[in-house]
Symmetry: C2
Subunit: 252 residues, 2 copies
DNA sequence: GATTTCAGCATCTCTAGACAAGCTGAAATC
DNA sequence: GATTTCAGCTTGTCTAGAGATGCTGAAATC
């Protein structure tokens, strides 16, 4: 009873992997025709539906495309395959997430609230928030853990005047998350966001993400404005590049 | 022989649409259990594989998720369904694209080079590019057309000193596009990018995108830096919100 | 009461067929 | 030579089964 990783791998999966390997290796190049259903039936000795299922995997992942009556072809411009997240949909920052990837199916994302405190913030961040000297902001630090691996550290700054007495910084903010809470208070934020390719700086954050300093990461700086132009949040994030989050939605 | 839009719609598609409608209408809410294979077999009088195929559609689109041995459930946090592009992969900006969406399969994206000229640019853009007064930039205007509908206008500014005598601004820039050409010249750009939700301003651009002024659009401002900090490109884009491009890859 | 066992139900994989529908290129026709 | 027809290929849809595998909760056991 060895716990071999693929004790009984489904046939269709093995066939799909063979095809993918042949594509990666250059045996089949973009535009080339792949073995069709009939070919796979003969080569692997499987039924039509099993061969179809294998080819379906490649189509779902955007690697191949079938032309009815003609054959199955390697896509000319196919997505760069990532080990990371393909799609993340969360209207509910703070109370749990679900992550989905074409490559490997659903995944678990949890959010740990590390700290939350009200304090004076560095000058440059105060400037972004439009705070005068002496005014303080609510700083919330959170860590996002994907399938057991920490992938994102987030530090969120909200003007204290905006959040005192509200539940905005509760660990579980409820449906809609921070932005929904802000909306309840009359602020419907629009955000500006910068994605910056960088390398992991040494220090605390590297440890909490379990990343060696120098590892490629993304820095994401998000500034959220209310309709009247007031800055209601500044958020600095460090994100493991290999788990780059491609889509997030803050809309309610 | 009426050309009814769904003369003979496949059964699995009809079932999938029924389920989606019931989810949209709130009959099944996030976390709820959907009718399983056996239920659909009875309700619709179809074979197991057909029922599976219907449920597979919802899973591929990230709307539902199956738990083996338990059932099929509406995902707690499911992607906001868009009419537009789910994924765009192009390592080949300028020489043709192919676009793929989970919702509706492959789509055609073409890129028209509208104009390209060397000229002095507005002061604020010259500032971004680090140009002194009198220096000029190469301005390339392109339009991206998705399935016949214009969805994106792009205006790209490159320091003239960088591009004169190169093929960077050829309509067909070849494999890898602009960024690959820049890399050949010793610049490996890193880009900052802002996504700004806005509304279509009146004028030329509204016409070329065939969008009524006031329509929700995204403004994307991208600034590309070489490793030495030099700005090698500034790109201003106006993007039809309904065709929001979620992923683009400039990496080689 | 706490633990273990297990029947029942669900999805997952797979088979061996069948017919429909779209495409291609060669043969037949004009 | 130009056009049309059509056989033969392809993928698309669908059936009616089967066993494997994973989960759950209730019953049996400790």
């Amino acid at each position: 009873m060895t716990s071999s990783p693929r004790a009984t791998q489904p046939k269709y999966q093995r066939i799909a992997e063979d095809l993918k390997r042949d594509i990666d290796s250059g045996r089949y190049r973009p535009g080339d025709r792949l073995p069709g259903e009939n070919d796979l039936m003969v080569t692997y000795g499987v039924a039509r539906m099993t061969a179809r299922q294998a080819l379906g995997v490649l189509q779902t992942e955007g690697i191949a495309e079938a032309r009815k009556g003609v054959g199955v072809f390697v896509r000319e411009f196919r997505p760069i395959r990532r080990r990371g997240i393909q799609r993340l949909s969360g209207r509910n920052w703070g109370s749990g997430f679900s992550v989905w990837s074409t490559d490997i199916g659903p995944r678990d994302l949890t959010v740990d609230q590390l700290t939350v405190a009200e304090r004076e913030v560095p000058e440059e961040i105060a400037a972004v928030l439009g705070l005068k000297t002496g005014e303080s902001a609510c700083v919330r630090s959170r860590r996002f853990v994907l399938d057991g691996k920490p992938v994102l550290l987030s530090e969120s700054y909200l003007p204290a005047a905006l959040v005192t007495g509200t539940r905005i910084t509760d660990p579980d903010t409820g449906p809609g998350g921070t932005y929904a809470r802000l909306a309840e208070l009359g602020h419907k934020p629009v955000h500006f966001q910068e994605h910056i390719r960088s390398r992991m700086p040494a220090g605390d954050e590297a440890e909490r993400l379990a990343l060696a300093p120098g590892t490629p990461v993304f820095l994401v700086h998000r500034t959220a404005f209310a309709e009247d132009g007031q800055v209601v949040e500044f958020n600095a994030m460090v994100l493991d590049s290999s788990a780059y989050i491609l889509e997030y939605d803050f809309d309610a």
